[in-house]
Amino acid sequence: MAKTYEEINEKIRKGHAVVVTAEEIIGIVEEKGLKKAAHEVDVVTTGTFGPMCSSGAFLNFGHSTPRIKLGGGHAYLNNVPVYTGLAAVDVYLGATAIPDDDPRNKVYPGEFSYGGGHVIEELVAGKDLVLSATAYGTDCYPRKKIEILVNIQDINEAILFSPRNAYQNYNCAVNLTDKIIYTYMGVLQANLGNANFCSAAQLSPLLNDPLYKTIGIGTKIFLGGGIGYVAWNGTQHNPTVKRKENGVPQAGAGTLSVVGDLKQMKAKYLRGSSFLGYGATMTVGIGIPIPILNEEICQYTAVKNQDLWCQVVDYGKNYPNNLPSSLGEVNYAQLFSGEIEVQGKKIPTAPISSYSIAREIAGTLKEWIKKGDFELTQPVQCIPGPESGITFKSMKERLVEPRFE
């Protein structure tokens, strides 16, 4: 018996909707069977809270007196450079931007203690930021310099707009070399000393809707503690990777581009983060509701950690050299157990994304929906699935021919 978005929303408005998290649905399907579970449950909520480098925000500061044209000039927020290749007072603040004078990896491994993600966290927390900029000056925008305090309350728009978040599955990272390495997957000890992984697994949004049947353009989501929307598929969206019979990809696959008003978000779910030896980024909280339209969708949401597999990848040599390779496949139940076996060696595992906050996000979204504060939206267009044939390509490096007169 199928349900429609409208029927589910009607129940949400009346406060009758049955909403459970992606963890809770597992037991419900086991206990009651798929048919009954799909009939009774209206919405399953998911959550994830992990480092997401392709995140950032568009800001509009309003016009100064006299006017200044930041476009084509240089601008900084708390010394972190922002992108100015837009109109006069629009900028884009990216999560991985770092101050020009940050020592980077000159002292190895670099600390990257402050970057764009930290600026976004402070902006959302309501702290004043220093905007400093230089411009070339025009007849209509004569001012050439500015240094002022800005606050999220005073600026026009602050829009979180991230080109790639919420990766559907990810690698499990190890290091086969004999030297310790510092990566975006954390510190990896030499000679298979440890394995790090990054997914909320059975709570993760796209792992609960593996074929993108409900999550699409226009889907209303929990974003950074407030409300946001799916804007498009994310960059590097790769729906054609190998999948198990349950439809779930066995490696990084789908991604989402998301958008939302920063002014209603919370700093707790947008955390500036520093990865030793790698760089600055932002840890982002996302939760997506999945309408249980039919049994098939209910079945997807009941997926368990032991049914979700990922590839073990060497970040010592193969990953940096972009060599395709997998040292084997492990499931998330194994990864969460604290130990896996790779090449016959038992190695300790640790996550780098927060399962407990992912759980908290799924729980918060559940409460919003139950209280009638959050209705579901039907996507205006699906994001490309495996049938699209879209495959993530490596860079095609065509050499530039030297030109002589």
């Binding site: 510190v187 790090n196 030793l276 840890t283 969460f336 640790a350 780098i352 927060s354």
Partner: protein, 137 residues
């Protein structure tokens, strides 16, 4: 009564060469495990030890070290986890050489047990949100 304590000994430059720990074994019948040893750029010696033995002998041994000019601190008391900042991500667990940082199976939160901490400071370097803090004295 026997005791087991984890302490950090700080040797000034002039004491680095003296066999003080040897006396702990010989004169006070104390057993020890070296957890960490380092000479700082100022040529001061830092030695983290786990010491086991009779309670009275332990007190006398510590007295002896203090009188010799060694500064003694309890180990693990210097590191703390700021729960307001921590995101329970788990990154610190992967670098901690002891069971001081571990993930609770049920809550999936990262638990810090200072009794196991050897103050290696790896977690401080790795924590992406600076939630592991060191107390300076």
């Amino acid at each position: 009564m026997s005791v087991c304590r984890r302490i950090v000994l700080r040797f000034p430059k002039n004491l680095v060469e003296k066999p003080l720990v040897y006396h702990l074994v010989k004169d006070y019948d104390l057993k020890f495990n070296i957890l960490r040893a380092k000479i700082t750029p100022e040529e001061e010696g830092l030695l983290s030890l786990e010491i086991k033995g009779d309670k009275n002998n332990y007190s006398r041994g510590i007295d002896f070290l203090t009188k010799s000019g060694v500064t003694i601190e309890q180990l693990g008391q210097k590191i703390r986890k700021n729960e307001d900042l921590c995101t329970q991500c788990g990154l610190c667990v992967s670098v901690c050489p002891t069971p001081a940082l571990a993930i609770d199976r049920k809550s999936r939160e990262v638990i810090f047990d200072s009794n196991h901490c050897v103050t290696c400071e790896m977690c401080i370097k790795v924590c992406p949100v600076k939630a592991m803090e060191i107390k300076f004295d």
